[in-house]
Symmetry: C2
Subunit: 580 residues, 2 copies
């Protein structure tokens, strides 16, 4: 490709609404162009990256035995009504009506349609296992789309769905996809982790996320540096406390803590480690009648160590706490006779249900609020100052330094961006849609399913979040818009430069290298800045002066300095760099 | 690919709603699966064809210097309001609202979005010409979708848009695309014609359709067998009549024609050629006020030769007849005092506007209705029996035998399916959206535009309409789902068959041939019928008996008999057939 025949359109300034670096840089480099909130044109430079991502995904999916199909973007509502998702999903499911007033949705995923295909196509266990995938446009009507391709409304996703005759076979299909995903992410050339994930709303009980490591990621990943244990912090399990509860050594005492409404402030005032304090969180669950009106509200008090964070997913799994909410200040004051910041489990005015984190259950001599403004209680002990807790559970997020569940050492935490997900779905969809095949026992059985997604347009954004510097993006070779850029300086004035540039360009094309020759005859500074912004991984600069001295300059995008090379050696040098 | 790892799903019966052969065969062959009216899953066998079509289109578009982008499926209404199409387009434009109540459309084409890109990206004439294209999902909410992929609601289209600095340059861009389209359609291996087309609603004044020739096509194509003249019958020009009007030789006479309400019946009764009769067509045009209420209706009488058909597009171009409709029976009876079937221009009760086809204007001694039930008039002549016509125009369709406008002989007519279209748009969209660049005179100028479509999912259907027999489809090599199928008979029982089949399979794969090995161990009859239905162009059958006799069977899909070949020669035979 020659630059004059391509569309290169760089900007000095990032758009005002761009909050994250990938959004800023991809817009400045002319890779994407906003059309509406969360809706982007994929411009030529960006589309090249997307197509390379698609090609790698397609190749590895095919290699893993998955079969490509394409399901419609506009899907009839009937199938979505069979699973109840037409009604249950929130407004992120874009619902539309056609000219005849019939209901449709724009696909956010395709479980319903693919299950409909399976129940028509796969009649016998002999046809199984099968895995159908598509690389197709999706739409999720996010309330607040932002971050460019990181959280768009319209996006491209690879979604695959496996159909198996039983759980054992489904586990093999799951593992096959998991291995394929590893190959895919290895080929992308990104740092990533496969982490255990909570399966959230889609359901199922075995689920892993593929997270691209980036300090700007919105997910926290817990991992063990000594093993391959890794989990989303939402899912990461805390081991039970190591030992039994120490004996009480202090008497209970009410102390004035004026204005100190946080555990940190109280610990500082008392000169105690934060881990000796206990924080009180007040939750509520509502019981509703058929009309959806609240008929009863239950208030809950959660106790967590002062240095720990509550994990909402774990809390939601405590019996009775599914669908919980945080209590209002009014509810808190009604139950505790005190404003938040000084709450505790002792001397309650109204009954609450007490739920205690496992770490708190083994604490002695702890500090909590006194249910009286500007007062706390020290030296609190279960069994003496309040009853032994009856509901004890893992309620908190893992913290760095916790023991790894696999016994391989202490856990660390880093941030990541989810770009892939493998799910074991079980029979959730096949039961809802009565999708069966004839088993080897001659009876209809529900398909065991898995689903497997990769955010094709999200991946380039994640790659940029991981790989950039102050000058621009840094693409891995495999998904770079171009692998090599040739920058001739003063091509319009120097026949020698033009000839040498065209020669190298032709040689690289002949080798099948994805090379661009910048024949725009831009000023050297602007030209080089463009390519550093765009982030092409390998660059050759040729100029008249250099050629007279017998050198051209090679620089990898991460190199801090150029390497001077004889023109006759540059092809060999590039071949070595590209592994050709 | 091995069949056991693919999804082969053939049906004995076509679906009840399938009216055309491509819909029937593609459904029976498991290439497409209906999800809703005009909405199809592209199944693995069908998707392979679509991907090959896409690849050829992409390669030739790139070769012609067009640059690939992807524009969103869901597009904000604002741009469509700029051109007025949001309001003007009928219900085939699917309009939707997002969760915030903002208006969007699902793209049926992308003139607005691409013009928006151009006005932001192309600031100077130095950046022109540019041609941007995409291969992307489209949606048109057809009132009565049918014919499978021939007229779906959701479909894949390649749409390209050229931007030029002036008309001359735009003509070059148009010709470049026209040449690229010829290369594309040549590569598809289909019989086609590039025909002049009426540009219809999209506008513009230079426009050609690429029509795949098929007797089942919905378009009539007029062509000259001795030259490259070809036009859609909607657009095909009738040359002016050769000579002047002959002198009148007959007296006007009213004759009883009881029950003969058609020109054919009257001609038969009178023993005259149909070309001596004149048919009277009654049209109406309505004038409306701002509230859209009809305030005045004008009635028109059109005269056409009895053996000619009215051309609605030509009629619509007559001054005053834009937006015409056919008159109602009530309107006809009020104006003519007579029911349809016996109408004519003589003895009118009410004034009508008379429009006369050029052929009628040079007729003498003709026959028309008497405006009295069961009566016609013979020997009618202009200037004597009624005034000389004042509005004379080309109102009719070309018929076979008409002279070609290029003087190369007589015209013939065949049927075709439109799968491509090249348009010169001029400044229609750039003016509506005020899309300008800085010209070489330093002043803002509107882009000269062209647009160029190919129906990527329609093309396979057209290919099948052209190429099929009673056993199934017959794909050209370039877009066949597989190029070669190896059918081993009794593979499960014979090691020799298995070994020979696997060997040939491996050899063809090594050559890069798109081959499928049917390892399903089906009964021979069912297996061969499947592949004839699917229409793979080259087939090799290996069986135990044949191998013992030292032969395998090669058969091209169009061959009536198989060719026996020594196993050692089959690879060379295939290479010759495939041009390798």
């Amino acid at each position: 490709m020659k630059a004059s025949q391509f569309l290169i359109s760089t900007l000095k300034e990032a758009p005002a609404d761009a909050e994250v670096v990938s959004h800023k840089l991809m817009t400045r480099a002319g890779m994407i162009k906003k059309l509406g909130a969360g809706i982007y044109n994929y411009m030529p430079m960006g589309l090249r990256v997307i197509r390379k991502v698609e090609a790698i995904v397609r190749e590895e999916m095919n290699r893993a035995g998955a079969i490509e199909v394409t399901m419609p973007v506009v899907q009839p509502a009937e199938l979505w009504q069979e699973t109840g998702r037409f009604e249950k999903m929130g407004p992120e499911l874009l619902r539309i009506q056609d000219r005849h007033g019939r209901d449709f949705v724009i696909q956010p995923t395709s479980e319903e349609v693919v299950t409909d295909i399976a129940r028509q196509e796969f009649k016998s266990y002999k046809q199984l296992p099968k895995n159908l995938y598509q690389i197709q446009t999706k739409f999720r009507d996010e309330r607040r789309p932002r971050f460019g391709l990181m959280r768009g409304r319209e996006f491209i996703m690879k979604d695959a769905y496996s159909f198996d005759k039983d759980r054992d076979s489904a586990q093999i299909s799951y593992q096959t996809m998991r291995e394929a995903y590893k190959r895919i992410f290895d080929r992308f050339g990104l740092q990533y982790r496969a982490v255990r994930a909570d399966s959230g709303a889609i359901g199922g009980d075995l689920s892993e996320e593929f997270q691209v490591i980036a300090s700007t990621g919105e997910d926290a990943i817990v991992y063990c540096p000594n093993s391959d244990y890794a989990a989303n912090i939402e899912k990461a399990e805390c081991l039970p406390p190591a030992g039994p509860r120490p004996a009480a050594t202090m008497a209970m005492e009410k102390v004035a803590t004026p204005g100190n409404s946080t555990c940190e402030a109280v610990a500082a005032q008392l000169g105690l480690p934060l881990s000796h304090t206990v924080k009180s969180l007040v939750l509520a669950t509502d019981e509703t009648n058929e009309a959806g009106e609240i008929v009863k509200t239950q208030v809950w008090l959660l106790l967590l160590r002062g240095d720990h964070e509550m994990n909402e997913i774990k809390v939601g799994k405590v019996e009775g706490l599914a669908g919980f909410r945080f209590a209002t200040v009014g509810e808190i004051e009604a139950h505790f006779g005190c404003k938040p910041g000084y709450l505790g489990p002792i001397g309650l005015k109204q009954p609450v249900k007490l739920v205690v984190d496992r770490e708190v259950a083994v604490m002695a001599d702890w500090v909590c609020g006194a249910n009286e403004e500007d007062f706390h209680i020290t030296g609190v002990n279960f069994g003496r100052d309040l009853p032994e807790p009856t509901v004890v559970a893992d309620l908190r997020n893992v913290v760095a330094g916790d023991k790894s569940p696999d016994g391989a050492g202490e856990l660390a935490i880093e941030r990541g961006i989810e770009i892939g997900h493998v799910f074991y779905l079980g029979t959730k969809y096949s039961r809802a849609m009565n999708a069966t095949f004839l088993g080897d026992n001659g009876k209809p059985q529900h398909f065991e399913m898995g689903c497997y997604g990769i955010g094709v347009t999200r991946l380039p954004a994640a790659a940029v979040e991981q790989n950039h510097d102050e000058r621009g993006m840094i693409w891995p070779d495999a998904i770079a818009p171009f692998t090599v850029v040739i920058c001739p300086i003063g091509m319009g004035r120097s026949e020698a430069v033009k000839a040498e540039a065209e020669k190298l360009y032709a040689e690289l094309l002949a080798l099948g290298v994805d090379v661009i020759l910048d024949d725009r005859d831009e000023r050297p500074g602007a030209m080089l800045a463009d390519w550093e912004l765009i982030g092409v991984p390998h660059r050759v600069v040729l100029g008249d002066r250099g050629l007279k001295e017998g050198v051209v300059e090679y620089q990898a995008r991460r190199d801090t300095e150029a390497t001077k090379i004889a023109p006759s050696d540059v092809l060999a040098h590039l071949k070595a760099k590209l592994g050709l």
